[in-house]
Symmetry: C2
Subunit: 307 residues, 2 copies
Amino acid sequence: MICDKIIKKRRKFRMLLNEHTIQEKGVEKGSVGFLLTPTKTEKELYFYITECGHYYCSRDYEINRNYYPQPLVMCILRGCMIAEYRKCRHRLTAGSVIVIDCSEPHRYYAAADGLEFLFLHFDGSNSHQLVKHILNTTGARPEGGSCAVIRQMLETRIEICRGYAAEPVVESSHWVYTLIKNLHRDNESYSYQSRSYVETVSRYINLHIGEKITVHELASLCGWSDSYFSHKLKEDTGYTPIEYVIEKKMTYARSLLFHTDLSVEEIADHIGYSLRGFINTFSERNNCAPGQLRKEIRLINQVNKKI
Amino acid sequence: MICDKIIKKRRKFRMLLNEHTIQEKGVEKGSVGFLLTPTKTEKELYFYITECGHYYCSRDYEINRNYYPQPLVMCILRGCMIAEYRKCRHRLTAGSVIVIDCSEPHRYYAAADGLEFLFLHFDGSNSHQLVKHILNTTGARPEGGSCAVIRQMLETRIEICRGYAAEPVVESSHWVYTLIKNLHRDNESYSYQSRSYVETVSRYINLHIGEKITVHELASLCGWSDSYFSHKLKEDTGYTPIEYVIEKKMTYARSLLFHTDLSVEEIADHIGYSLRGFINTFSERNNCAPGQLRKEIRLINQVNKKI
Protein backbone atom coordinates (compact mmCIF):
# COMPACT_ATOMS: atom_id res chain seq x y z
CA MET A 1 0.00 0.00 0.00
CA ILE A 2 2.70 2.40 1.04
CA CYS A 3 4.69 0.90 -1.84
CA ASP A 4 1.92 1.90 -4.24
CA LYS A 5 2.14 5.39 -2.90
CA ILE A 6 5.84 5.36 -3.63
CA ILE A 7 5.37 4.18 -7.18
CA LYS A 8 2.86 6.96 -7.71
CA LYS A 9 5.31 9.39 -6.23
CA ARG A 10 8.16 8.23 -8.43
CA ARG A 11 7.27 11.03 -10.78
CA LYS A 12 7.37 13.47 -7.94
CA PHE A 13 10.66 12.00 -6.75
CA ARG A 14 12.20 12.45 -10.15
CA MET A 15 10.82 15.94 -10.21
CA LEU A 16 12.41 16.54 -6.85
CA LEU A 17 15.74 15.43 -8.17
CA ASN A 18 15.06 17.51 -11.26
CA GLU A 19 14.34 20.51 -9.17
CA HIS A 20 17.61 20.06 -7.44
CA THR A 21 19.55 19.60 -10.64
CA ILE A 22 17.57 22.31 -12.44
CA GLN A 23 18.91 24.68 -9.85
CA GLU A 24 22.17 24.31 -11.71
CA LYS A 25 22.00 27.02 -14.32
CA GLY A 26 21.39 25.69 -17.83
CA VAL A 27 20.13 22.21 -16.86
CA GLU A 28 16.87 21.69 -18.76
CA LYS A 29 13.66 19.77 -18.26
CA GLY A 30 13.86 16.01 -18.71
CA SER A 31 17.23 15.85 -16.96
CA VAL A 32 17.63 13.38 -14.11
CA GLY A 33 20.18 13.11 -11.34
CA PHE A 34 20.61 10.46 -8.66
CA LEU A 35 22.33 10.78 -5.32
CA LEU A 36 23.35 7.48 -3.72
CA THR A 37 24.21 6.81 -0.09
CA PRO A 38 26.89 4.17 0.47
CA THR A 39 26.68 1.75 3.37
CA LYS A 40 29.43 1.78 6.01
CA THR A 41 30.94 -1.38 4.49
CA GLU A 42 31.00 0.21 1.05
CA LYS A 43 32.81 3.22 2.47
CA GLU A 44 35.37 1.02 4.17
CA LEU A 45 36.03 -1.67 1.58
CA TYR A 46 34.41 -1.20 -1.82
CA PHE A 47 34.07 1.03 -4.83
CA TYR A 48 30.69 2.76 -5.05
CA ILE A 49 28.72 5.28 -7.07
CA THR A 50 27.85 8.54 -5.31
CA GLU A 51 25.98 10.38 -8.08
CA CYS A 52 24.98 9.89 -11.65
CA GLY A 53 22.64 11.45 -14.14
CA HIS A 54 21.52 12.28 -17.64
CA TYR A 55 21.52 16.02 -18.40
CA TYR A 56 20.04 18.12 -21.19
CA CYS A 57 21.66 21.54 -21.17
CA SER A 58 21.39 24.95 -22.74
CA ARG A 59 24.38 27.17 -23.52
CA ASP A 60 24.12 28.51 -19.96
CA TYR A 61 25.39 25.31 -18.41
CA GLU A 62 28.74 25.72 -16.74
CA ILE A 63 30.60 24.06 -13.89
CA ASN A 64 33.69 25.83 -12.65
CA ARG A 65 35.30 24.71 -9.43
CA ASN A 66 38.57 23.93 -7.73
CA TYR A 67 37.32 20.96 -5.84
CA TYR A 68 34.60 18.35 -5.74
CA PRO A 69 34.92 15.27 -3.54
CA GLN A 70 34.61 12.44 -6.10
CA PRO A 71 36.17 11.60 -9.47
CA LEU A 72 33.87 12.13 -12.44
CA VAL A 73 33.30 10.34 -15.74
CA MET A 74 31.21 11.98 -18.47
CA CYS A 75 30.06 10.77 -21.86
CA ILE A 76 28.64 13.20 -24.43
CA LEU A 77 25.54 12.00 -26.28
CA ARG A 78 24.70 15.09 -28.36
CA GLY A 79 25.99 18.61 -28.88
CA CYS A 80 29.35 19.85 -27.70
CA MET A 81 30.98 20.35 -24.32
CA ILE A 82 34.22 22.20 -23.64
CA ALA A 83 36.26 20.91 -20.70
CA GLU A 84 39.26 22.81 -19.40
CA TYR A 85 41.36 20.64 -17.20
CA ARG A 86 45.04 20.03 -16.43
CA LYS A 87 46.05 22.82 -18.84
CA CYS A 88 44.17 21.20 -21.74
CA ARG A 89 41.06 22.40 -23.51
CA HIS A 90 39.01 19.39 -24.65
CA ARG A 91 36.29 19.78 -27.26
CA LEU A 92 33.95 16.89 -26.52
CA THR A 93 31.36 15.82 -29.08
CA ALA A 94 28.97 12.86 -29.31
CA GLY A 95 30.67 9.65 -28.19
CA SER A 96 33.52 11.40 -26.35
CA VAL A 97 34.36 10.36 -22.80
CA ILE A 98 36.37 12.30 -20.24
CA VAL A 99 37.56 11.40 -16.75
CA ILE A 100 38.24 14.16 -14.22
CA ASP A 101 39.94 14.01 -10.84
CA CYS A 102 37.68 16.61 -9.23
CA SER A 103 40.16 17.31 -6.44
CA GLU A 104 42.00 19.39 -9.05
CA PRO A 105 40.57 22.60 -10.61
CA HIS A 106 38.23 21.87 -13.50
CA ARG A 107 35.81 23.75 -15.68
CA TYR A 108 33.34 22.42 -18.21
CA TYR A 109 30.47 24.02 -20.08
CA ALA A 110 28.11 23.71 -23.02
CA ALA A 111 29.65 25.08 -26.21
CA ALA A 112 26.12 25.83 -27.48
CA ASP A 113 22.50 24.89 -26.84
CA GLY A 114 21.55 21.23 -27.24
CA LEU A 115 24.16 19.54 -25.06
CA GLU A 116 23.18 16.11 -23.76
CA PHE A 117 25.47 13.97 -21.63
CA LEU A 118 25.72 11.23 -19.02
CA PHE A 119 27.81 11.61 -15.88
CA LEU A 120 28.84 9.52 -12.91
CA HIS A 121 30.80 10.22 -9.72
CA PHE A 122 32.34 7.31 -7.87
CA ASP A 123 34.42 6.79 -4.73
CA GLY A 124 35.75 4.17 -2.35
CA SER A 125 38.77 1.89 -1.96
CA ASN A 126 41.74 3.39 -3.83
CA SER A 127 39.66 5.02 -6.58
CA HIS A 128 41.32 8.43 -6.15
CA GLN A 129 44.82 7.00 -6.60
CA LEU A 130 43.69 4.92 -9.57
CA VAL A 131 42.20 7.96 -11.30
CA LYS A 132 45.38 9.96 -10.70
CA HIS A 133 47.39 7.11 -12.17
CA ILE A 134 45.10 6.89 -15.22
CA LEU A 135 45.42 10.63 -15.80
CA ASN A 136 49.21 10.42 -15.59
CA THR A 137 49.46 7.49 -17.99
CA THR A 138 46.45 7.23 -20.31
CA GLY A 139 45.29 10.82 -19.82
CA ALA A 140 41.79 12.24 -19.42
CA ARG A 141 40.44 10.82 -22.67
CA PRO A 142 40.02 7.04 -23.03
CA GLU A 143 40.50 5.68 -26.52
CA GLY A 144 37.84 4.99 -29.14
CA GLY A 145 36.93 1.41 -28.34
CA SER A 146 36.70 2.05 -24.63
CA CYS A 147 34.43 5.07 -25.14
CA ALA A 148 31.67 2.94 -26.65
CA VAL A 149 31.91 0.47 -23.75
CA ILE A 150 31.83 3.28 -21.19
CA ARG A 151 28.83 4.89 -22.86
CA GLN A 152 26.96 1.60 -22.73
CA MET A 153 27.92 1.11 -19.10
CA LEU A 154 26.70 4.58 -18.10
CA GLU A 155 23.44 4.16 -20.02
CA THR A 156 22.73 0.87 -18.26
CA ARG A 157 23.64 2.31 -14.89
CA ILE A 158 21.24 5.24 -15.26
CA GLU A 159 18.49 2.85 -16.29
CA ILE A 160 19.18 0.85 -13.12
CA CYS A 161 18.85 4.05 -11.06
CA ARG A 162 15.64 5.05 -12.87
CA GLY A 163 14.16 1.65 -12.07
CA TYR A 164 15.42 1.81 -8.48
CA ALA A 165 16.70 -1.72 -8.97
CA ALA A 166 18.60 -3.09 -6.00
CA GLU A 167 22.03 -4.58 -6.45
CA PRO A 168 24.44 -6.27 -4.06
CA VAL A 169 27.32 -4.13 -2.79
CA VAL A 170 29.90 -6.45 -4.36
CA GLU A 171 28.23 -6.31 -7.77
CA SER A 172 28.19 -2.55 -7.95
CA SER A 173 31.76 -2.39 -6.64
CA HIS A 174 32.83 -4.78 -9.39
CA TRP A 175 30.89 -2.68 -11.89
CA VAL A 176 32.81 0.45 -10.84
CA TYR A 177 36.10 -1.45 -11.08
CA THR A 178 35.20 -2.55 -14.60
CA LEU A 179 34.45 1.08 -15.48
CA ILE A 180 37.85 2.09 -14.07
CA LYS A 181 39.52 -0.67 -16.09
CA ASN A 182 37.98 0.75 -19.24
CA LEU A 183 39.35 4.20 -18.48
CA HIS A 184 42.86 2.80 -18.93
CA ARG A 185 44.40 2.89 -22.37
CA ASP A 186 43.44 0.11 -24.74
CA ASN A 187 45.25 -3.13 -24.14
CA GLU A 188 46.68 -3.44 -27.63
CA SER A 189 48.29 -0.04 -27.64
CA TYR A 190 49.48 -0.08 -24.05
CA SER A 191 51.13 -2.53 -21.81
CA TYR A 192 50.33 -5.74 -23.66
CA GLN A 193 53.44 -5.52 -25.81
CA SER A 194 55.45 -4.17 -22.92
CA ARG A 195 54.43 -7.01 -20.69
CA SER A 196 55.39 -9.66 -23.21
CA TYR A 197 59.09 -8.65 -23.21
CA VAL A 198 58.94 -8.45 -19.41
CA GLU A 199 57.67 -12.02 -19.39
CA THR A 200 60.55 -13.07 -21.67
CA VAL A 201 63.07 -11.43 -19.37
CA SER A 202 61.36 -12.84 -16.31
CA ARG A 203 61.47 -16.35 -17.74
CA TYR A 204 65.16 -15.94 -18.56
CA ILE A 205 65.91 -14.91 -14.99
CA ASN A 206 63.99 -17.92 -13.65
CA LEU A 207 66.04 -20.17 -15.91
CA HIS A 208 69.28 -18.66 -14.68
CA ILE A 209 68.26 -17.94 -11.10
CA GLY A 210 71.59 -19.22 -9.75
CA GLU A 211 73.78 -17.29 -12.18
CA LYS A 212 75.06 -13.75 -12.44
CA ILE A 213 72.83 -12.00 -14.97
CA THR A 214 74.00 -8.86 -16.79
CA VAL A 215 71.95 -6.00 -18.20
CA HIS A 216 73.48 -6.70 -21.61
CA GLU A 217 72.29 -10.30 -21.54
CA LEU A 218 68.70 -9.21 -20.86
CA ALA A 219 68.80 -6.32 -23.33
CA SER A 220 70.02 -8.52 -26.17
CA LEU A 221 67.27 -10.99 -25.31
CA CYS A 222 64.83 -8.25 -26.41
CA GLY A 223 67.00 -7.11 -29.30
CA TRP A 224 67.45 -3.68 -27.72
CA SER A 225 70.40 -1.55 -26.65
CA ASP A 226 71.34 -1.71 -22.97
CA SER A 227 70.27 1.87 -22.33
CA TYR A 228 66.94 1.58 -24.16
CA PHE A 229 66.18 -1.67 -22.33
CA SER A 230 67.03 -0.14 -18.94
CA HIS A 231 64.85 2.87 -19.67
CA LYS A 232 61.93 0.75 -20.91
CA LEU A 233 62.04 -1.72 -18.02
CA LYS A 234 62.14 1.09 -15.49
CA GLU A 235 59.13 2.69 -17.20
CA ASP A 236 57.11 -0.53 -17.33
CA THR A 237 57.97 -2.19 -14.03
CA GLY A 238 59.41 0.60 -11.89
CA TYR A 239 62.65 -1.39 -11.50
CA THR A 240 66.07 -0.99 -13.08
CA PRO A 241 67.36 -4.27 -14.60
CA ILE A 242 69.61 -4.91 -11.60
CA GLU A 243 66.78 -4.22 -9.16
CA TYR A 244 64.46 -6.45 -11.16
CA VAL A 245 66.88 -9.38 -11.03
CA ILE A 246 67.33 -8.89 -7.26
CA GLU A 247 63.54 -8.63 -6.79
CA LYS A 248 63.01 -11.93 -8.60
CA LYS A 249 65.83 -13.69 -6.79
CA MET A 250 64.53 -12.54 -3.40
CA THR A 251 60.94 -13.57 -4.22
CA TYR A 252 62.27 -16.97 -5.16
CA ALA A 253 64.38 -17.20 -2.01
CA ARG A 254 61.43 -16.30 0.17
CA SER A 255 59.38 -19.01 -1.45
CA LEU A 256 62.17 -21.53 -0.81
CA LEU A 257 62.28 -20.45 2.84
CA PHE A 258 58.58 -21.07 3.22
CA HIS A 259 58.20 -24.15 1.08
CA THR A 260 61.38 -26.16 1.56
CA ASP A 261 63.84 -27.34 4.19
CA LEU A 262 66.87 -25.97 2.34
CA SER A 263 69.25 -24.16 4.71
CA VAL A 264 69.88 -20.42 4.36
CA GLU A 265 73.33 -21.25 2.96
CA GLU A 266 71.83 -23.58 0.36
CA ILE A 267 69.23 -20.99 -0.64
CA ALA A 268 71.91 -18.30 -1.00
CA ASP A 269 73.89 -20.69 -3.18
CA HIS A 270 70.75 -21.61 -5.15
CA ILE A 271 70.20 -17.99 -6.21
CA GLY A 272 73.89 -17.26 -6.77
CA TYR A 273 74.55 -15.15 -3.71
CA SER A 274 77.24 -15.30 -1.05
CA LEU A 275 75.77 -16.07 2.36
CA ARG A 276 76.53 -12.57 3.67
CA GLY A 277 75.23 -10.88 0.52
CA PHE A 278 72.00 -12.86 0.66
CA ILE A 279 71.38 -12.13 4.32
CA ASN A 280 71.95 -8.39 3.81
CA THR A 281 69.82 -8.07 0.68
CA PHE A 282 67.01 -10.22 2.04
CA SER A 283 66.93 -8.49 5.44
CA GLU A 284 66.76 -5.07 3.85
CA ARG A 285 63.68 -5.99 1.83
CA ASN A 286 61.78 -8.08 4.37
CA ASN A 287 62.68 -6.34 7.63
CA CYS A 288 63.72 -9.77 8.85
CA ALA A 289 66.84 -11.89 8.31
CA PRO A 290 66.25 -15.14 6.38
CA GLY A 291 67.52 -17.24 9.30
CA GLN A 292 65.13 -15.49 11.65
CA LEU A 293 62.19 -16.08 9.30
CA ARG A 294 63.16 -19.73 8.92
CA LYS A 295 63.41 -20.17 12.71
CA GLU A 296 59.98 -18.67 13.16
CA ILE A 297 58.49 -20.90 10.50
CA ARG A 298 60.07 -23.99 12.16
CA LEU A 299 58.96 -22.96 15.64
CA ILE A 300 55.42 -22.40 14.45
CA ASN A 301 55.33 -25.74 12.71
CA GLN A 302 56.57 -27.53 15.84
CA VAL A 303 54.03 -25.81 18.03
CA ASN A 304 51.25 -26.61 15.58
CA LYS A 305 52.26 -30.24 15.37
CA LYS A 306 52.19 -30.57 19.16
CA ILE A 307 48.68 -29.17 19.17
CA MET B 1 67.69 -17.15 -31.35
CA ILE B 2 67.94 -16.69 -27.62
CA CYS B 3 64.16 -16.99 -27.66
CA ASP B 4 64.44 -20.42 -29.25
CA LYS B 5 66.74 -21.42 -26.47
CA ILE B 6 64.13 -20.28 -23.99
CA ILE B 7 61.40 -22.27 -25.64
CA LYS B 8 63.61 -25.34 -25.55
CA LYS B 9 64.33 -24.67 -21.94
CA ARG B 10 60.67 -24.32 -21.02
CA ARG B 11 60.72 -27.95 -20.03
CA LYS B 12 63.72 -27.33 -17.87
CA PHE B 13 62.08 -24.24 -16.42
CA ARG B 14 58.99 -26.16 -15.49
CA MET B 15 61.22 -28.81 -14.03
CA LEU B 16 62.97 -26.13 -12.04
CA LEU B 17 59.67 -24.99 -10.65
CA ASN B 18 58.76 -28.60 -10.10
CA GLU B 19 61.97 -29.21 -8.24
CA HIS B 20 61.15 -26.33 -6.00
CA THR B 21 57.61 -27.49 -5.40
CA ILE B 22 58.63 -31.11 -5.19
CA GLN B 23 60.75 -30.13 -2.22
CA GLU B 24 57.44 -29.79 -0.45
CA LYS B 25 56.86 -33.25 0.95
CA GLY B 26 54.17 -35.17 -0.90
CA VAL B 27 54.03 -33.06 -4.07
CA GLU B 28 54.28 -35.46 -6.98
CA LYS B 29 55.60 -35.42 -10.53
CA GLY B 30 53.56 -33.47 -13.04
CA SER B 31 52.82 -30.72 -10.54
CA VAL B 32 53.52 -27.15 -11.59
CA GLY B 33 53.93 -23.96 -9.60
CA PHE B 34 54.44 -20.40 -10.77
CA LEU B 35 55.97 -17.50 -8.88
CA LEU B 36 55.09 -14.07 -10.25
CA THR B 37 56.89 -10.79 -9.60
CA PRO B 38 54.63 -7.74 -9.47
CA THR B 39 55.74 -4.41 -10.90
CA LYS B 40 56.07 -1.42 -8.59
CA THR B 41 52.78 -0.01 -9.93
CA GLU B 42 51.01 -3.29 -9.24
CA LYS B 43 52.31 -3.25 -5.67
CA GLU B 44 51.10 0.31 -5.17
CA LEU B 45 47.74 0.32 -6.94
CA TYR B 46 46.46 -3.01 -8.20
CA PHE B 47 45.49 -6.53 -7.31
CA TYR B 48 47.98 -9.14 -8.51
CA ILE B 49 48.76 -12.82 -8.42
CA THR B 50 51.89 -13.84 -6.54
CA GLU B 51 51.79 -17.62 -6.95
CA CYS B 52 49.62 -20.27 -8.48
CA GLY B 53 49.85 -23.91 -9.38
CA HIS B 54 48.37 -27.29 -10.07
CA TYR B 55 49.47 -29.96 -7.59
CA TYR B 56 49.25 -33.75 -7.54
CA CYS B 57 49.84 -35.00 -4.03
CA SER B 58 50.37 -38.18 -2.07
CA ARG B 59 49.11 -38.69 1.49
CA ASP B 60 52.38 -37.10 2.71
CA TYR B 61 51.35 -33.65 1.59
CA GLU B 62 50.82 -31.27 4.47
CA ILE B 63 51.07 -27.53 5.02
CA ASN B 64 50.98 -26.36 8.59
CA ARG B 65 51.84 -22.79 9.37
CA ASN B 66 50.89 -19.76 11.39
CA TYR B 67 51.63 -17.27 8.68
CA TYR B 68 52.08 -16.86 4.97
CA PRO B 69 52.12 -13.43 3.37
CA GLN B 70 49.26 -13.72 0.84
CA PRO B 71 45.65 -14.91 0.91
CA LEU B 72 45.05 -18.27 -0.74
CA VAL B 73 42.27 -19.78 -2.84
CA MET B 74 42.22 -23.55 -3.52
CA CYS B 75 39.96 -25.70 -5.63
CA ILE B 76 39.98 -29.49 -5.31
CA LEU B 77 39.92 -31.45 -8.59
CA ARG B 78 40.26 -35.02 -7.32
CA GLY B 79 40.70 -36.84 -4.03
CA CYS B 80 40.19 -35.27 -0.64
CA MET B 81 41.89 -32.51 1.33
CA ILE B 82 41.36 -31.70 4.98
CA ALA B 83 41.71 -28.04 5.92
CA GLU B 84 41.80 -26.92 9.55
CA TYR B 85 41.22 -23.25 9.81
CA ARG B 86 39.44 -20.78 12.09
CA LYS B 87 38.41 -23.62 14.43
CA CYS B 88 36.70 -25.51 11.59
CA ARG B 89 37.69 -28.77 9.97
CA HIS B 90 36.74 -28.73 6.29
CA ARG B 91 36.57 -31.92 4.29
CA LEU B 92 37.16 -30.76 0.72
CA THR B 93 36.33 -33.04 -2.19
CA ALA B 94 36.21 -32.56 -5.97
CA GLY B 95 34.66 -29.19 -6.84
CA SER B 96 35.11 -27.69 -3.36
CA VAL B 97 36.70 -24.27 -3.00
CA ILE B 98 38.23 -22.73 0.10
CA VAL B 99 39.64 -19.27 0.80
CA ILE B 100 42.23 -18.78 3.52
CA ASP B 101 43.61 -15.62 5.07
CA CYS B 102 47.13 -16.94 5.50
CA SER B 103 48.02 -14.35 8.11
CA GLU B 104 46.07 -16.59 10.50
CA PRO B 105 47.16 -20.12 11.51
CA HIS B 106 46.11 -22.71 8.94
CA ARG B 107 46.73 -26.36 8.24
CA TYR B 108 45.77 -28.42 5.23
CA TYR B 109 46.75 -31.87 4.07
CA ALA B 110 45.88 -34.76 1.79
CA ALA B 111 43.37 -37.12 3.40
CA ALA B 112 44.77 -39.95 1.26
CA ASP B 113 46.84 -40.53 -1.88
CA GLY B 114 45.51 -39.12 -5.14
CA LEU B 115 44.82 -35.51 -4.17
CA GLU B 116 44.80 -33.06 -7.06
CA PHE B 117 44.09 -29.35 -6.65
CA LEU B 118 44.59 -25.84 -8.03
CA PHE B 119 45.81 -22.98 -5.86
CA LEU B 120 46.40 -19.27 -6.17
CA HIS B 121 47.87 -16.61 -3.88
CA PHE B 122 47.04 -12.98 -4.57
CA ASP B 123 47.87 -9.62 -3.03
CA GLY B 124 47.68 -5.87 -3.57
CA SER B 125 45.25 -3.00 -3.00
CA ASN B 126 42.91 -3.88 -0.11
CA SER B 127 42.85 -7.62 -0.80
CA HIS B 128 43.71 -8.55 2.80
CA GLN B 129 40.80 -6.52 4.21
CA LEU B 130 38.45 -7.91 1.57
CA VAL B 131 39.38 -11.48 2.41
CA LYS B 132 38.90 -10.84 6.13
CA HIS B 133 35.48 -9.36 5.35
CA ILE B 134 34.53 -12.34 3.19
CA LEU B 135 35.58 -14.76 5.94
CA ASN B 136 33.50 -12.85 8.49
CA THR B 137 30.39 -12.74 6.30
CA THR B 138 30.35 -15.51 3.70
CA GLY B 139 32.89 -17.72 5.44
CA ALA B 140 35.75 -19.77 4.01
CA ARG B 141 33.59 -21.81 1.63
CA PRO B 142 31.94 -20.07 -1.35
CA GLU B 143 28.61 -21.51 -2.43
CA GLY B 144 27.95 -24.07 -5.14
CA GLY B 145 27.47 -21.86 -8.18
CA SER B 146 30.50 -19.75 -7.38
CA CYS B 147 32.71 -22.82 -6.95
CA ALA B 148 32.26 -23.84 -10.59
CA VAL B 149 33.10 -20.30 -11.74
CA ILE B 150 36.18 -20.16 -9.51
CA ARG B 151 37.38 -23.55 -10.73
CA GLN B 152 37.09 -22.39 -14.33
CA MET B 153 38.92 -19.15 -13.51
CA LEU B 154 41.81 -20.98 -11.82
CA GLU B 155 42.10 -23.48 -14.67
CA THR B 156 42.31 -20.68 -17.23
CA ARG B 157 44.81 -18.76 -15.13
CA ILE B 158 47.16 -21.73 -14.83
CA GLU B 159 46.96 -22.27 -18.59
CA ILE B 160 47.93 -18.61 -19.06
CA CYS B 161 50.95 -19.16 -16.79
CA ARG B 162 51.92 -22.35 -18.61
CA GLY B 163 51.87 -20.49 -21.91
CA TYR B 164 53.74 -17.56 -20.41
CA ALA B 165 51.14 -15.33 -22.02
CA ALA B 166 51.57 -11.65 -21.26
CA GLU B 167 48.68 -9.64 -19.92
CA PRO B 168 48.27 -5.97 -19.06
CA VAL B 169 48.49 -5.07 -15.37
CA VAL B 170 44.93 -3.71 -15.39
CA GLU B 171 43.51 -6.88 -16.92
CA SER B 172 45.04 -9.20 -14.35
CA SER B 173 44.02 -6.83 -11.55
CA HIS B 174 40.45 -6.90 -12.81
CA TRP B 175 40.68 -10.68 -13.06
CA VAL B 176 41.71 -10.92 -9.38
CA TYR B 177 38.87 -8.58 -8.42
CA THR B 178 36.40 -10.80 -10.28
CA LEU B 179 37.79 -13.81 -8.41
CA ILE B 180 37.31 -11.93 -5.12
CA LYS B 181 33.76 -11.02 -6.12
CA ASN B 182 33.01 -14.71 -6.65
CA LEU B 183 34.28 -15.56 -3.18
CA HIS B 184 31.38 -13.55 -1.75
CA ARG B 185 28.14 -15.32 -1.07
CA ASP B 186 25.79 -15.77 -4.00
CA ASN B 187 23.74 -12.73 -4.87
CA GLU B 188 20.38 -14.43 -4.51
CA SER B 189 20.96 -15.63 -1.00
CA TYR B 190 22.81 -12.57 0.24
CA SER B 191 22.36 -8.87 0.01
CA TYR B 192 20.14 -8.68 -3.05
CA GLN B 193 16.97 -8.94 -1.02
CA SER B 194 18.43 -6.83 1.73
CA ARG B 195 19.36 -4.09 -0.64
CA SER B 196 15.92 -3.91 -2.17
CA TYR B 197 14.26 -2.88 1.12
CA VAL B 198 17.11 -0.42 1.69
CA GLU B 199 16.30 1.09 -1.69
CA THR B 200 12.64 1.36 -0.72
CA VAL B 201 13.56 3.11 2.51
CA SER B 202 16.07 5.30 0.73
CA ARG B 203 13.48 6.37 -1.84
CA TYR B 204 11.01 7.18 0.92
CA ILE B 205 13.56 9.39 2.66
CA ASN B 206 14.29 11.19 -0.61
CA LEU B 207 10.59 11.83 -1.08
CA HIS B 208 10.28 13.22 2.44
CA ILE B 209 13.69 14.83 2.71
CA GLY B 210 12.26 17.97 4.34
CA GLU B 211 10.12 16.15 6.88
CA LYS B 212 10.71 14.52 10.22
CA ILE B 213 10.95 10.77 9.55
CA THR B 214 10.34 8.24 12.32
CA VAL B 215 11.70 4.73 12.69
CA HIS B 216 8.14 3.44 12.84
CA GLU B 217 7.32 5.03 9.48
CA LEU B 218 10.29 3.30 7.82
CA ALA B 219 9.70 -0.02 9.59
CA SER B 220 6.07 -0.20 8.53
CA LEU B 221 7.15 0.60 4.97
CA CYS B 222 8.93 -2.78 5.05
CA GLY B 223 6.15 -4.48 6.99
CA TRP B 224 8.45 -5.15 9.92
CA SER B 225 8.50 -4.33 13.61
CA ASP B 226 10.51 -1.29 14.64
CA SER B 227 13.09 -3.36 16.48
CA TYR B 228 13.54 -5.93 13.70
CA PHE B 229 13.87 -3.15 11.13
CA SER B 230 16.47 -1.31 13.24
CA HIS B 231 18.45 -4.48 13.73
CA LYS B 232 18.31 -5.40 10.03
CA LEU B 233 19.24 -1.95 8.75
CA LYS B 234 22.19 -1.77 11.13
CA GLU B 235 23.33 -5.17 9.92
CA ASP B 236 23.01 -4.32 6.22
CA THR B 237 24.15 -0.70 6.09
CA GLY B 238 26.06 -0.18 9.34
CA TYR B 239 23.66 2.63 10.28
CA THR B 240 20.79 2.81 12.76
CA PRO B 241 17.59 4.20 11.17
CA ILE B 242 18.18 7.65 12.69
CA GLU B 243 21.81 7.69 11.51
CA TYR B 244 20.72 6.57 8.07
CA VAL B 245 18.20 9.40 7.74
CA ILE B 246 20.82 11.91 8.90
CA GLU B 247 23.37 10.44 6.47
CA LYS B 248 20.97 10.85 3.55
CA LYS B 249 19.93 14.36 4.54
CA MET B 250 23.55 15.48 4.89
CA THR B 251 24.52 13.93 1.54
CA TYR B 252 21.65 15.80 -0.03
CA ALA B 253 22.61 19.05 1.72
CA ARG B 254 26.21 18.75 0.56
CA SER B 255 25.04 18.28 -2.97
CA LEU B 256 22.85 21.40 -2.69
CA LEU B 257 25.82 23.37 -1.37
CA PHE B 258 27.91 22.36 -4.36
CA HIS B 259 25.30 22.47 -7.06
CA THR B 260 22.98 25.34 -6.17
CA ASP B 261 22.96 28.91 -4.94
CA LEU B 262 20.55 28.17 -2.07
CA SER B 263 21.66 29.81 1.17
CA VAL B 264 22.67 27.70 4.18
CA GLU B 265 19.37 28.72 5.85
CA GLU B 266 17.39 27.59 2.81
CA ILE B 267 19.25 24.29 2.66
CA ALA B 268 18.64 23.67 6.37
CA ASP B 269 14.97 24.38 5.80
CA HIS B 270 14.93 22.18 2.70
CA ILE B 271 16.05 19.13 4.69
CA GLY B 272 13.90 19.94 7.72
CA TYR B 273 16.60 21.15 10.08
CA SER B 274 16.91 24.24 12.22
CA LEU B 275 19.83 26.40 11.10
CA ARG B 276 21.83 25.63 14.24
CA GLY B 277 21.06 21.91 14.09
CA PHE B 278 22.11 21.74 10.46
CA ILE B 279 25.38 23.59 11.03
CA ASN B 280 26.29 21.34 13.96
CA THR B 281 25.42 18.06 12.28
CA PHE B 282 27.04 19.00 8.97
CA SER B 283 30.23 20.33 10.57
CA GLU B 284 30.66 17.20 12.63
CA ARG B 285 30.55 15.00 9.54
CA ASN B 286 32.52 17.11 7.08
CA ASN B 287 35.09 18.76 9.37
CA CYS B 288 33.90 22.03 7.88
CA ALA B 289 30.84 24.22 8.52
CA PRO B 290 28.41 24.50 5.59
CA GLY B 291 28.86 28.28 5.40
CA GLN B 292 32.63 27.87 5.25
CA LEU B 293 32.35 25.29 2.46
CA ARG B 294 29.96 27.54 0.55
CA LYS B 295 32.32 30.54 0.94
CA GLU B 296 35.22 28.49 -0.37
CA ILE B 297 33.20 27.28 -3.34
CA ARG B 298 32.18 30.88 -4.16
CA LEU B 299 35.70 32.21 -3.75
CA ILE B 300 37.09 29.54 -6.01
CA ASN B 301 34.46 30.22 -8.63
CA GLN B 302 35.22 33.95 -8.58
CA VAL B 303 38.95 33.37 -8.85
CA ASN B 304 38.43 30.93 -11.69
CA LYS B 305 36.16 33.31 -13.56
CA LYS B 306 38.76 36.08 -13.33
CA ILE B 307 41.36 33.77 -14.83
